[in-house]
Amino acid sequence: MKKLISIFVLLVSFAFTSNSYSKTEIHWWYGNSGFLGDVIIEIANRFNDSQDEYMVIPTGKGSYEDNMAATIAAFRAGDQPHYSQVYDAGAAIMVAQVKNGVVIGFEEMAEKYGIDVDADNYIPGIKNFYADADGKMVGVPFNSSTCLMYANMDILNEVGIEEVPKTYEEFEGMAQKILDAGYIPLLQSHSPWIWTENFFSRHNLLMTDGNNGYDAVPTKTLFADTEAFVYHWTKVKEWYEKGFYGYKGRAWGDNQAPFTNGEAAFWFGSAASFGGMKDVLPNFTTNPIPYWDSVTGGKEYPTFIGGAANWILNGHTEEEYKGLAKFIEFMGSPEMDLYYHNMTGYAAVTKGGIELAETINFYRTSPYHKAVGDQLGLEGSTIPGGYRAGNWPQIREVIYENVEPMLNGEISVEEALGNMDKGAEKLLAQFAKTL
């Protein structure tokens, strides 16, 4: 009984404490977990400590997919958060929702509530990725990553390789040596993201018709039609059979684990992946993802922005949006941008953040952080800096479904890519019906 009473008293006192502050609450839902989720909570805490009027309440909903599903379900129930983190593959869906009054674009918000951060303050590539057809930024850039190549320098030293490969040709040349020494030469954690979407951007190739969906609603993907893409997967399959490339299923972590444990020489992952590795693997570097010299003729092109952005959802009070505007301002400040960049390895998304990094000579002390900016900052691309294709989460699923039978030899590379195109075409048509 005593216990019950004390629990009751505790609950009542909680109820009173949250009431007694009477701050305006702003709900922020996110799809990161573990360390990245902790950083998000820390950001909210810092904002809450910096002023007394508003309180940002971050809520983790699991993965990116989980958070997007939760946000949508909440919206349908009229209970949506103010601010939600939605990933790259969902960007097309979110941008399309501005006209339905689900999403408030950043620029509209900035105009109405006076955010002191200009859209042009964000790095152009990132800004354009989350912008609508007119170039108005809709999503608020947040955790922007791209795929990078991690290299275990101890293994490379052991087998006598002095420089990490810049191209896939160079990798192919050194793979046998690594394999002979008893290591897995290459692993990667996301076939659709790294070896499909970013394969196209890295080689300056269009992935869908309609100029990647920027000029017109895309009707088909160009997987089987792109010679370089067919060539790439033919090579990957060859590597898989030779043992140059090890496939450990779809789970991100299962593919990362052998690298983190020092059993693999190279691993392709996200710019934000090094956090868990830093204290475990003694000697590794982050490098731009390789490209096929034979495809680009020695030129390098930037990859797409990965990760996620935060989206402002409609249906709340003016007072709450004022608070959210303050929060967006806070997160867009050079100090917070650099803090986040430093903590997570995600790219600095504002010009101010990058300037600050240069002023304090940040990259000299933290070389891990440099590759992401270098790769995203490359110039000369003639394709858009992203893709606007609906139902993309399902198209990723279709890609996965065909990679495995291709690797185990059940279907040929051409068949697999053809199946991907067919599956994607249907899903794109399905999405086009809802517009």
């Binding site: 139902n391 996965y400 479904e401 249907k426």
Partner: protein, 292 residues
Amino acid sequence: MKKVQFKSSYSQYIFLAPQLLILLIFLYWPIIQTFRDAFTIQDAFGFGSYFAGFDNFLFVFSDPSYYTAFKFTIIYSFVITLITGSIGLLLAVQANKVLHGKNVYKTLLIWPYAIAPAVVGVMANYFFSERYGLLHHLFNNLWGFNWYEDVFDAYIYVIIAGSWKQISANFIFFLAGLQAIQKTVIEASIIDCKSNIRRFWTITFPLLMPTTFFLIIINITYAFFDTFGIIDTTTIGAPGSETKTLVYKAYIDGFKGLDLGSAGAQSILMMIIVLIITIFQFRYIEGKIHYN
């Protein structure tokens, strides 16, 4: 016997109301919603929705991975029913014979039933992990086990993960069934027949038929619907879509893919499948069962 009657004509509805309300909110309302979703095309947020006739169904039927999921679900429910039923029966018969420490055996055998499927999946994950998995290591030594790309190996993975906990359920019911058989019948049969095995198949097992029939339905429903958590924590449907159950596919398309129309159509197809299976069972199997 005197009939119990309510004086007023509406008081019975008041007593029924709470239960009906629960049914209405948690059963009929979602079903109606599912029908609505299945026949409309809409974007993820529910906008641009319009009546689409059977478009969503045609979309599902044109998806090769739906047939793969269908095939897998049938195989999966058949194998799980067979494995869990036979092992559960074997354990129940053996445990029924034990004289000393009966309760210890029973408790230990029933325990896994209390574990949530998702947790079972996570545990199976450890056993089949390439890095530190006991079973992975064992099978790998036997024939080069690789569930990442080999369909047969992936089947083994999800079948073992899916069966383990359900064996307990079968065990409980078979044990109860065995204990309900009258001692006199067993004793009489001992006089007539010496062979243990023959006695089991001619006397005990037929008397267990009602339990068996019940367990077949339970096991099939389990494999159809409850293995969701296991698939999600083990293979996530890989390789290809070879280990996706129909429920899991509907979930992926509806909640990860955000295509509620297709997911709704799949749910309705699933309802039809379950309806057919149940009718079939009651028509053709139950007729052959004698309840005492």
